[in-house]
C-alpha cells in the first residue's frame, strides 16, 4: 500500500509537469489553430538555459531567468517566423514548427555537446521529504508539485482575473472581433506564444534535473505532450489537465509494476495461450505503447477528446 502511495505521488508530480507543457501547447493551439511541433524543444531549451545559468550562479537564478529567456526566444520565433508563414495556411505553419524542432535538436548539441549535461538538483532540495516503510519520496518531487500547482493557480488567475487574460480569452474564440475592438491581436498572439513557450521552459527548468538534460529529451517528451492534448481534447485546458495526470499515472505505474500482460488479463478474467510471446510481455515493455494506444482509441471513439469542444 505504501508503495502505491509513493508511486501515486510520483505520478502526480510527473503529471503536473506534463500539464505545464501541455497547457502552453493548448493555449497556443487555441489562439493559432496550429499544433506547435517545436513545443518540446522549448522545454529542452529551458533545461539547458537553466543548466548554463546554474553553472554561473546557482539553481535559483536559473529558475527565474531561464523561462523568461525561453519565452523571449518563443516571441522572436513568432514575430520573425510564424507570423510570415501564417498567410500560407495551417499546414505551412505546422511544418514551420516541425522544421524548427529539427533545427533546435541540432543546435543544442552544437552548443552543449551530444552527451547529457550535469544539471543537478540544488543541495537545498536534495534528500527525502518523508518515507513510508523504506519507500522515500524526494523533496525535489514535492518542490516540482508545488511549483506546478503555483503555476497552475497563477495561470488561472491571469486568465480569469486580469484584463489581459480576458482579452486573451476573447481572442481565443473571436480574434476578428477583438481586433475590431481595437486590440492588437498580432501582439497578443506573440505574447501568448511567448507565454506558452515560457511555460514549457519552466517545465524544462524543473524537469531537466529531475530527469536527464540531453539533446534527445525534446523528442522523448514531445510525442507524449501531443498525446495529452489530443486525449484531453484540442484546445481544452481542463482536458489537458485531466489527460496529463492520466498519462503521468499510466507511465509511472507501468514502469514500476512488474507484471506481465498475462497477469493483467487474468485479473479481468481473460487469458492468452501461455506459450506465446504475447503472454510473456511485461507491463514495462508495454509502457511506451500505452499512451499511443490511448490516443488512438480516443481519436476513434471520441475524436473531440475527453473535454474538447472542436474536432479539428
Amino acid at each position: 500500500m505504501d508503495f502505491v502511495v509513493i508511486t501515486l505521488l510520483n505520478s502526480v508530480a510527473y503529471g503536473l509537469l506534463l500539464f505545464m507543457l501541455s497547457s502552453g501547447l493548448t493555449l497556443i493551439f487555441s489562439m493559432m489553430g496550429v499544433l506547435n511541433f517545436a513545443h518540446a524543444s522549448f522545454y529542452m531549451l529551458g533545461a539547458y538555459f537553466a543548466y548554463q545559468i546554474s553553472t554561473w550562479s546557482g539553481f535559483w537564478l536559473g529558475l527565474l531567468l531561464a523561462p523568461l529567456l525561453v519565452g523571449g526566444v518563443g516571441m522572436l520565433v513568432e514575430w520573425h517566423g510564424l507570423r510570415h508563414v501564417r498567410r500560407f495556411g495551417h499546414v505551412a505553419e505546422l511544418l514551420f514548427t516541425f522544421g524548427l524542432a529539427i533545427v533546435f535538436e541540432e543546435l543544442v548539441p552544437l552548443i552543449w555537446g551530444k552527451a547529457s549535461v550535469p544539471y543537478a538538483v540544488p543541495a537545498q532540495l536534495e534528500g527525502a521529504l518523508f518515507s513510508l516503510h523504506g519507500a522515500a519520496f524526494p523533496i525535489y518531487k514535492g518542490f516540482m508539485m508545488a511549483m506546478s500547482l503555483g503555476m497552475l493557480a497563477a495561470l488561472y488567475g491571469v486568465l480569469t482575473r486580469t484584463r489581459i487574460g480576458l482579452i486573451i480569452q476573447a481572442s481565443l474564440t473571436k480574434p476578428d472581433m477583438v481586433e475590431a475592438l481595437g486590440h492588437n491581436v498580432p501582439r497578443i498572439t506573440m505574447l501568448l506564444f511567448g507565454g506558452g513557450t515560457a511555460l514549457a521552459g519552466l517545465a524544462g527548468v524543473i524537469g531537466g534535473n529531475a530527469f536527464v538534460t540531453e539533446p534527445s529529451m525534446a523528442a522523448s517528451v514531445g510525442f507524449i505532450v501531443f498525446v495529452i492534448v489530443v486525449v484531453g481534447g484540442l484546445g481544452s485546458l481542463g482536458g489537458a489537465f485531466l489527460a496529463s495526470l492520466l498519462i503521468g499515472a499510466l507511465q509511472t505505474f507501468s514502469v514500476t509494476l512488474d507484471v506481465t500482460l498475462q497477469q493483467v488479463l487474468t485479473l479481468i478474467g481473460l487469458s492468452l495461450p501461455a506459450d506465446t510471446n504475447l503472454a510473456r510481455v511485461s507491463l514495462v515493455q508495454l509502457g511506451p505503447v500505452l499512451p499511443y494506444l490511448l490516443m488512438v482509441a480516443i481519436l476513434i471513439l471520441r475524436p473531440r477528446g475527453l473535454m474538447g469542444v472542436r474536432e479539428s
Binding site: L35, G81, H84, V85, F88, V91, A92, L94, L95, F96, F98, G99, L100, I102, V103, E105, E106, L107, P109, L110, I111, G113, K114, F223, F226, V227, V230, L234, N277, L278, V281, Q285, L286, P288, V289, Y292, L293, M295, V296, L299, I300, P303, E311, S312
Partner: protein
C-alpha cells in the same frame, strides 16, 4: 495548386527523367552513383505515394512510413520464405508483395484514420505510426528486433533475361522499372474520377458532400492506393539493400518523406520526385562532407516553408514561365545583386556552424582555404559572425527592389495571358 500543365510538357518531363535515369549510370560507370540513383528512385516512389495524400487529397500524414516499412518487411519475408526457389523472375515480382502488404495495411488502418481530415487525421496517423513502432519489440519474429532481417536476392539459381540481380546496376534497372510503372500508375490516377474528386475534397470537403461524394470514402480509397505504392517503394528498398530494420517504419522515416515531398512541391505531380532527388543528393553529398547536415537541412526546410511554400517545383515552373515570357531579363540584375549578399550570409552561417562542430569534436583548429584557424581565439568567430550579419544586412538592402521587380514581372505575366 494543380497547375494546368499541357500534355506535351508532361510528356517532355517524363522523357527527360527517363533519359537522365538511363544515361547517367551508363555514362559514369560508378557504383556509388548507381546506388545513389537507386535510392533516389525508391524515395521518389515513396514521396509520390505520400503526395497522393498531402498534395492531392489534402491529408497531412505523420505516419506514412508504416506502409513503406510493412511493404519492406513483407518483401524480405517473402524473399526469405522462397529461399532457394527465389528465381530472378520471382524476385523481380516481389515488390508487388510489398505493395500488397501496404494495400492491406491501408485497408485496415485507413478505416480508423480517414474519418476526419485536418489535425485529427494528422494526429491519428502519428498515433498509429508511433503505436506500431512501439509495438515492434514485442513481435521479434515479425520485425526482427534491433537487427532487423537480412535477405539474399540471389538465393535462387538461374537468370531472367540474363539478369541475376547480383550487380548493383541490375537491381537499379529493376528499381527503375518499378519506379516508372508506379509513377505512371500514380499519374494515371490523377486523371481519373477518383483523382479529380480527391482534389475537390482537398479544396472544399463540405461542398464535395453536396455534389454526392462521401468525403470519407474518397479519403479512404486514396489512402489505400497510397499505401499500395508506399508498400512497393518499401519492397524495392528491401531488394536494394537486402536488409530491413524497424527504423524503416519510425517517425523519422515518416518525417523524411514529408520533408522531401514538401520541399519538392506538393502542387506539381513531379514535385515529390524533385524533392526526393534533391534531398537524397544533399544527404549523400553534404552528409559526406559535414556532420552538421541535419542542421543545414532543417534551416533549408525552414527557408523553403517561409519563402517558397510551393516547393522547388513551383519555383522552377515560375521561373521557366518568366523566361518564356521574356521577363527574366528584367529580373536577372536583381537576382545577381541579391546573390552576393546571400552567398556572404550563407558563408558566415556555414563558417559559424562548422567551427562549432569542429570545436564540439574536440579540435583546436580548423582549416579554411588552406589556412589554419585557431578555434579558441575570438577573431574567427567575430569574423564569421560579421560576414553573416553583413550578408543579411546586404540582403535586406536589395530585397525591396527585387520584390518590387518580381511582383511587377508576375503581374505582367498574368496580365499578358489571353
Amino acid at each position: 495548386m494543380t497547375a494546368p500543365s499541357s500534355l506535351p510538357r508532361q510528356v517532355l518531363i517524363w522523357a527527360a527523367i527517363f533519359v537522365i535515369a538511363c544515361v547517367l549510370p551508363s555514362l559514369f560507370r560508378s557504383g556509388f552513383l548507381v546506388s545513389v540513383l537507386s535510392q533516389i528512385a525508391i524515395m521518389a516512389v515513396f514521396a509520390l505515394s505520400y503526395n497522393m495524400l498531402l498534395g492531392q487529397t489534402g491529408l497531412l500524414s505523420f505516419g506514412h512510413a508504416v506502409y513503406y516499412g510493412l511493404g519492406a518487411f513483407a518483401t524480405i519475408h517473402l524473399l526469405n520464405g522462397l529461399g532457394k526457389s527465389a528465381t530472378p523472375l520471382l524476385v523481380a515480382l516481389l515488390p508487388l508483395g510489398g505493395g500488397a502488404a501496404g494495400l492491406v495495411a491501408g485497408l485496415i488502418l485507413g478505416r480508423m484514420t480517414t474519418k476526419k481530415a485536418g489535425t485529427t487525421f494528422a494526429m491519428i496517423s502519428l498515433g498509429i505510426a508511433e503505436l506500431m513502432f512501439a509495438t515492434t519489440p514485442i513481435f521479434p519474429s515479425v520485425f526482427g528486433g534491433d537487427g532487423g532481417f537480412a535477405g539474399n536476392r540471389m538465393a535462387g539459381k538461374g537468370s531472367f533475361l540474363g539478369l541475376t540481380w547480383g550487380p548493383q546496376i541490375e537491381i537499379y534497372w529493376l528499381v527503375l522499372f518499378w519506379a516508372f510503372v508506379s509513377a505512371g500508375l500514380m499519374f494515371a490516377l490523377t486523371q481519373t474520377p477518383l483523382g479529380r474528386v480527391a482534389n475537390a475534397v482537398r479544396d472544399n470537403p463540405e461542398r464535395a458532400e453536396f455534389i454526392g461524394y462521401d468525403t470519407r470514402q474518397v479519403r479512404y480509397r486514396m489512402l489505400v492506393l497510397s499505401g499500395l505504392f508506399a508498400g512497393i517503394a518499401g519492397g524495392l528498398s528491401a531488394l536494394n539493400y537486402e536488409i530491413v530494420t524497424v527504423d524503416m517504419l519510425n517517425a523519422h522515416t515518416s518525417g523524411s518523406v514529408l520533408l522531401m515531398t514538401y520541399t519538392g512541391g506538393i502542387g506539381h505531380f513531379f514535385g515529390p520526385v524533385l524533392g526526393a532527388a534533391m534531398i537524397t543528393l544533399m544527404q549523400t553529398l553534404v552528409g559526406g562532407l559535414t556532420h552538421a547536415w541535419l542542421l543545414y537541412f532543417g534551416l533549408f526546410f525552414l527557408f523553403m516553408v517561409a519563402f517558397a511554400p510551393g516547393g522547388m517545383a513551383s519555383v522552377l515552373s515560375r521561373q521557366s514561365a518568366l523566361v518564356k515570357a521574356g521577363l527574366w531579363r528584367c529580373l536577372l540584375p536583381h537576382y545577381a545583386l541579391a546573390a552576393a549578399p546571400a552567398a556572404l550570409a550563407c558563408l558566415g552561417a556555414v563558417g559559424l556552424i562548422e567551427m562549432a562542430y569542429a570545436l564540439l569534436a574536440g579540435h583546436d583548429a580548423a582549416s579554411f582555404m588552406g589556412t589554419s584557424i585557431r578555434l579558441h581565439t575570438l577573431l574567427p568567430w567575430l569574423g564569421a559572425a560579421s560576414v553573416l550579419i553583413g550578408g543579411i544586412a546586404g540582403l535586406k538592402w536589395v530585397i525591396g527592389g527585387m520584390s518590387d521587380a518580381w511582383h511587377q514581372a508576375l503581374s505582367q505575366l498574368q496580365g499578358g495571358k489571353p
